[in-house]
């Protein structure tokens, strides 16, 4: 595998974009999607390195990450719905119950 660096750089870029999204957007669903993006960036790293090193462990990890992501999606979206039911908004700036 000669093109490892390419994959890793793409992965890094995607991760950075995800980070920027998480930090800049205020729509909770978009933030959520950005987190998914970051997770996928990590997945890419896992798989490319797995291929590079000739181990399958990395890919197994990806499967677990996907599972976690799925669970997270279910719970996270449920949270958003619950929140929306209370506040008529999913803007993270309205999530301020913990504010002093």
């Amino acid at each position: 595998m000669e093109n490892l660096n390419g994959y890793l750089i793409v992965s890094a870029i995607l991760f950075a974009i995800g980070t920027i999204g998480v930090l800049t957007r205020k729509n909770a669903i978009v933030i959520f999607m950005c987190i998914e993006l970051m997770l996928n960036a990590v997945n890419l790293t896992f798989i490319s390195l797995s291929r590079h090193l000739g181990h399958l462990d990395g890919q197994i990890f990806v499967i677990f990450i996907m599972t976690v992501a799925a669970a997270e999606a279910a719970v996270g979206l449920a949270l958003m719905i619950a929140f929306y039911n209370n506040k008529e908004s999913i803007d993270v700036e309205d999530v301020n119950l913990m504010k002093w």
Partner: protein
């Protein structure tokens, strides 16, 4: 019979349990009172049996111990629930059960119709049990059960009319003052136990064992400390200076209680205790002196207060304190048997007087009640001329008064004279003897004066009570008068048990009887006794005559002031108002104690609570908490509560840390 000694305290205990648990259901006063009286009377029978058996034995075999069950055994320390029967405790159980039975019988009549009749009898039985434990205990700890038990019963019975605040106060005062004494008792016990244990490896609090080992005790030193502590205990229980103020207040209890507890039995526990440990006390000349001086001082001090009181029971109470002073004087001058002798005669005549006063109060109370008057039934100023309506009460009371005043041949004469004679002639206190004797003699004079003042004010002259109710006055019922008569007889003839040698008409039964108990003490005392130079028959006769003269003088003064020249006391009061006020207010001792101990204690407690606990300790605790709160108040502004701020900080942290490792 000796083996059944445990029955003696058991009967009253049964009575207590029956009346305590079921008395409320039984309701019938005759049954309740009957059970109570019967139980103590059965104890009396057993005591008689024991006495009889003991009389049949030679003197050196008159000691018996009965172990009931092991009580506290821990390490070196051993205390069994065990009884000791010897001549001394035999005398005591006879007095306690005998006088106790009579007073129980009396109470059936006296307490008739009272709310909580069953409660009264339950307590009375409990008291008898405790008192019997006290005198029968073969070690200090069983004695201490009784010691505290009688204090408890005294508390309960003084507080019998618990709805009266004064009764509650008096009960508490009695218990607390007794506790001060108990403190001394415990320290004395500890000292003796520790000294024997650590020096001779004899770990014991058993009287017989201590007696056996008492030759090891040094003269003075640690013994002085221990005995002084024990004596503090005795002053608490027996109302001696400085712990005497509870006894007059204790008159808040029903009159039979005053007679039984605060005259005949409980208050003499201190005397008994010194008698029980005479072989220890005698080893400390200093303690003996302190005991004698305190006894004499109490005798005269209480007697002076007694002269100005108007409440009939209070006069008797101060008289009790004063007589107890005589007993301690006897103990202090090494005349242990004389102290016990006076204890016994005092039990007879003082119980008789208290019961007689109870009879008077009973009658007065009923009369006032029927006449719908609210005058004080105990105030002598309301009485007068009662001898006509209450002849039996009057005669018994008068006999007892003659006894306490020390008129030959009534019982008090023999015992008091013996004490005064020993105070004068004892070999222990040297030149102090004259002072002790003089104080005792003056106290005897005062005694005769205030007792006859009481008699004259109550029974002689014109009845000062409202004429409306005069016809309601009547003699008390038989249950009241029978005990009076029995006690009156005892008060008259009881003294013949201990007739002095010089008279020679009868042998001195009591001294011989108690000899096995006290001979060791006499032996120890001989080590430091001065050669007795005063022992002459002529002198003894002379002093005897002198003391009768003194008593007669006291009586004459009372006669002059309260019968012949009734205006004189008022004149006297007008001449010396300050003196009268001081005496009337008991020399302000209560106020002094309040000022020195009670109030500072309360104030200090308040200060410790509000000042130290809340301000200092909690101040530190809450202060630490407040400092933390203060800082967190500043730091919490960093916590905006917005999720994206936290996310931002997190990423920043990751970037910085990663950056540090990558670029370093």
């Amino acid at each position: 019979m000796f083996d059944n000694v445990w029955l003696i305290p058991l009967f009253p205990l049964i009575g207590f349990l029956i009346n305590g648990f079921f008395g409320k259901k039984i309701k019938n006063e005759a049954v309740i009172g009957g059970i109570g009286t019967l139980m103590i009377f059965m104890s009396f029978i057993v005591s008689c049996g024991i006495l009889m058996q003991m009389i049949g034995l030679p003197p050196e075999q008159r000691v018996f111990e009965k172990v009931l069950f092991p009580w506290i055994h821990s390490g070196n320390f051993k205390a069994d629930m065990a009884f000791l029967v010897d001549p001394l405790s035999a005398v005591m159980i006879m007095v306690v059960t005998g006088v106790g039975s009579l007073i129980h019988l009396y109470s059936i009549g006296y307490m008739h119709g009272e709310e909580g009749f069953y409660r009264f009898f339950a307590y009375l039985n409990l008291f008898c049990m405790s008192m019997l434990l006290l005198v029968l205990g073969n070690n200090m700890l069983v004695m201490f059960i009784g010691w505290e038990g009688v204090g408890l019963c005294s508390y309960l019975l003084i507080g019998y009319y618990f709805h009266k605040k004064s009764a509650g106060d008096a009960a508490k005062k009695a218990f607390v003052m007794n506790r001060v004494g108990d403190f001394g008792f415990l320290i004395g016990l500890f000292t003796l136990y520790w000294w024997f244990g650590s020096n001779h490896n004899i770990w014991t609090i058993n009287f017989t064992e201590i007696k056996a080992a008492s030759h090891l005790l040094p003269y003075g030193g640690v013994v002085t400390v221990a005995t002084l502590c024990f004596f503090v205990g005795a002053t608490g229980k027996s109302a001696q200076i400085p712990l005497f103020t509870w006894l007059p207040d204790a008159m808040e209890g029903p009159t039979p209680v005053s007679a039984l507890i605060h005259a005949a039995t409980m208050v003499t526990a201190g005397v008994y205790m010194i008698g029980r440990m005479s072989f220890v006390f005698i080893k400390s000349p200093d303690t003996m002196m302190v005991v004698a001086v305190i006894g004499a001082a109490t005798a005269i001090f209480a007697a002076t207060i007694g002269t100005a009181q108007n409440d009939i029971k209070r006069v008797l109470a101060y008289s009790t304190v004063s007589q107890l002073g005589f007993m301690f004087l006897a103990m202090g001058v090494g005349a242990f048997w004389a102290g016990i002798f006076h204890l016994m005669t005092h039990a007879f005549f003082k119980a008789c007087m208290f019961l007689g006063s109870g009879s008077v109060i009973h009658s007065m109370h009923h009369a006032l009640h029927k006449g719908h008057l609210h005058d004080d039934a105990q105030d002598m100023r309301n009485m007068g001329g009662l001898r006509k309506v209450m002849p039996i009460t009057f005669i018994t009371f008068f006999v007892s008064t003659l006894a306490i005043a020390g008129i030959f041949p009534f019982s008090g004469f023999f015992s008091k004279d013996e004490i005064l004679w020993k105070a004068f002639s004892n070999p222990y206190h040297g030149s102090l003897n004259i002072i002790l004797w003089g104080t005792g003699a003056i106290a005897a004079c005062f005694t005769a004066f205030y007792m006859f003042r009481l008699v004259f004010m109550t029974f002689f002259g014109e009845c000062r009570i409202n004429s409306k109710v005069k016809e309601y006055l009547h003699e008390s019922p038989l249950t009241i008068t029978i005990p009076l008569m029995v006690l009156g007889v005892l008060a008259t003839f009881g003294g013949f048990l201990g007739m002095p040698k010089v008279m020679g008409a009868l042998p001195n039964y009591l001294e011989h009887w108690l000899d096995p108990v006290f001979e060791l003490a006499t032996e120890y005392g001989a080590k430091y006794a001065h050669a007795g130079g005063h022992e002459s028959h002529a002198l003894e006769w002379g002093l005897m005559g002198l003391s009768i003269t003194i008593a007669v003088v006291g009586i004459m003064i009372a006669l002059t002031l309260y019968v012949k020249n009734t205006g004189a006391p008022a004149k006297f009061v007008a001449t010396f108002p300050a003196l009268h006020r001081a005496v009337y207010n008991k020399w302000y001792v209560d106020e002094l104690y309040d000022f020195i101990f009670v109030n500072p204690c309360k104030a200090f407690g308040q200060f410790l609570w509000k000042g130290f606990d809340v301000v200092v300790v909690d101040g530190v605790v809450n202060g630490v908490a407040n400092v933390v709160m203060g800082f967190s108040g500043i730091f919490r502004y960093m916590q905006s509560g917005y999720i994206y701020n936290y996310a931002f900080s997190m990423v920043l942290g990751v970037v910085v840390i990663l950056g540090y490792y990558i670029f370093k």
